[in-house]
Symmetry: C2
Subunit: 398 residues, 2 copies
């Protein structure tokens, strides 16, 4: 249309979403190799829904066809049964929340941009580097200024607050981290909370990998003192409970988190959700409730243990190749430097040619240059292929 | 947080979403009456999923628990099976589309704001009045300038293009219309297409009620000449197929629809979806595919016929009360003027006190002042109560 301008945020975006590009190259490689490659790239899960979750999903699907049990529009914020289940699950972790502080979403990605869109456009986003590319892309799309905080391998990429107070409106923090697989300890998170309080920022805590947290690594930032003053926590059922094909998550907005005029952020969030969203499918909310039940949590723990075994196989393979890496304990990701000063994309293409798909670190930010990410969420068969081939493949590059 | 500013769009919003306010008053009325009121207010459906749809949903739910059949992240834009089914359904209406021009969404509401957010912020939105309040609210939230186009009862509220070319970036058009229940004929839609082409606008056509269209009323604006140059069409499985509790819809972006620099709008849409969304639940996409199958379409037609009978009962009641109204034929809504110069909210409160919930026309815009909307999507029992009481209740107000 003549004269019709696009949103200015597009000009700051790279042309392709990282995983759109890797998916394309993987497809080309499979065509050229004539076989399926081992997929340790995209962070999709490989286990089916557990029996408890699948039963709840199927039962609720059936209910939708019966007059007496069918459901229409979900209440704004989600069904009470799921909000109550999420409250109990948090309480079991030692985090006391009001049920009305927990909102049900269709997954983490959309919530990140929704929260960001509640704030004025002339604001700064602080984003660790490397990080989940959606933080950067949604910030660009919304036209926000970004300050990247580069992590260093010797600090296990756990970026700490900058020395100067730069008053970001939003700080994106994820622990355990994608792509580096590392998690903050209490002291690290406490430092971030202090910084957020001092700079008057909202700390958007992405806990998508909470299920993988080991001992000494807080699953929830809300378990720390002061967090209720500044933190919004987003979680997802995608990884541990395997909801990538169902879409469900929770967003916690403590009532203390306010905008400058003392207006609760949650009030603005609810108003925006009213206008922009229509809620999450009823059967999916029942499935999420089942995932939070005692049986559901036991089953998820079994799935997570299997992914941990995958990570163990990859750790051993990298140790055999004498390649240093981060992650692999508190998250289903391992992050390693490409040998011989190669770029991450070079190592990506090299491994892809040998039948192993990984993710180039460049996709996660400048500080990810020269690294690649391995995902332990892949099927066991793929993990075993990679673990068998990686020592020689990586060794050949030295 | 000190100094943290909210998005400026909030200042232009009313405090409450229309249906949040009516829901609150209905709850209070039920508490005070000590019984359930007849709910002809919110446009939620009252029929369960049809057998074909429910079977597909349940079967796909089961697949998610089995290693060999489980699905992870949905492809961007939706599964091919559903895009192909939607393409066939459009073809059966005489609209030929490329499968890649059809995108699967989690419902119409989110798509409206997503499309609007692709365009530069300093743009004008043209919105008929009265209209679905989300058009106005999402425009305000995004900080867009709005030009309302008031409809008049004597024109059945079918607003026609303004005389002057005001070059809106987006035109919101819905047919059949919520809340007035009226649908454009071919000549009306053709006039809007001409206007959009001449003014270089994108015409965002909301076909949420397409299943209710009668003869002589185009279901799809894309069936008209020239529409591919300027129209984006959004549809929903919510009303006819009863997906309000499942969330699914389609968005058609013809490849001819471009931004000023000849960049296809669809390219920007896909990039934004990549960043902001994670797709629709696999079982829901299978359910939508079933709704578009021949058996699914036959069953939906039966459900729609029942809602049409509801509308017939309401038409008779209003005729008995000698109250003029619009709608009730091509959409499940009837829109009527409150007798005696009362406001819509006054009639809303009066009818609520007598046990009938409706929706005040004020919620749909200034041109809806003094009207209320009745929904024929309510359960038959509620419709019968309303049809029995309305003649006397409305007659008493003259």
């Amino acid at each position: 249309m003549k004269g019709l301008k696009e949103a200015p945020g597009f000009s700051a975006l790279s042309e392709e979403y990282l995983f759109a590009e890797t998916t394309k190259r993987i497809r080309e490689a499979e065509a050229s190799l004539g076989r399926r490659v081992a997929r340790l790239g995209m962070g999709d899960v490989s286990h089916p829904l557990t029996p408890t979750v699948c039963r709840a999903l199927t039962e609720a699907a059936r209910e939708m066809g019966i007059d007496a049990t069918r459901r229409g529009y979900s209440p704004i914020g989600g069904y009470g049964f799921l909000r109550a289940a999420a409250r109990e699950a948090y309480a079991a972790e030692g985090v006391d929340l009001g049920e009305e502080e927990i909102y049900i979403s269709d997954g983490a990605k959309g919530e990140l941009s929704l929260i960001a869109s509640l704030l004025a456009p002339d604001t700064l986003h602080l984003i660790p580097d490397p990080a989940y590319p959606a933080y950067r892309d949604l910030s660009s799309l919304l036209g926000r200024e970004i300050l990247f905080l580069p992590g260093r391998e010797e600090d296990r990429f756990l970026a700490m607050p900058p020395d100067r107070i730069c008053r970001p409106a939003l700080i994106f923090l994820t622990s355990p981290s994608n792509p580096t697989g590392e998690a903050y300890d209490e002291a690290g998170l406490a430092a971030w909370i202090d910084y957020a309080v001092e700079s008057g920022s909202i700390l958007l805590f992405d806990g998508a990998y909470a299920d993988f947290c080991g001992k000494g690594r807080p699953r929830s930032i809300l378990s720390l003192p002061g967090a209720r003053r500044c933190c919004v926590e987003i979680r997802s059922f995608s990884k541990g409970a395997g909801f990538t094909g169902l879409r469900c998550g929770t967003t916690v907005i403590p009532e203390e988190v306010c905008l400058g005029d003392s207006r609760p952020l949650a009030e603005r969030y609810r108003r925006a959700v009213d206008i922009l969203k229509n809620g999450v499918a009823y059967p999916v909310q029942r499935a999420a409730e089942a995932a939070l039940s005692p049986a559901g949590r036991r089953e998820t723990a079994v799935t997570v243990a299997r992914y941990r075994q995958n990570a163990g196989l990859l750790r051993e393979a990298l140790a055999a190749a004498e390649i240093a890496f981060t992650g692999g304990w508190d998250a289903p990701y391992l992050f390693l430097r490409a040998p011989g000063g190669r770029s991450g994309w070079e190592l990506f293409d090299f491994l892809l040619g040998a039948g192993i798909a990984v993710t180039p670190g460049e996709g996660f930010g400048n500080a990810g240059r020269g690294y690649v990410r391995l995902s332990a969420l892949a099927p066991r068969g793929d993990i075993e292929i990679a673990a068998a081939l990686l020592p020689d493949l990586l060794g050949s590059l030295r």
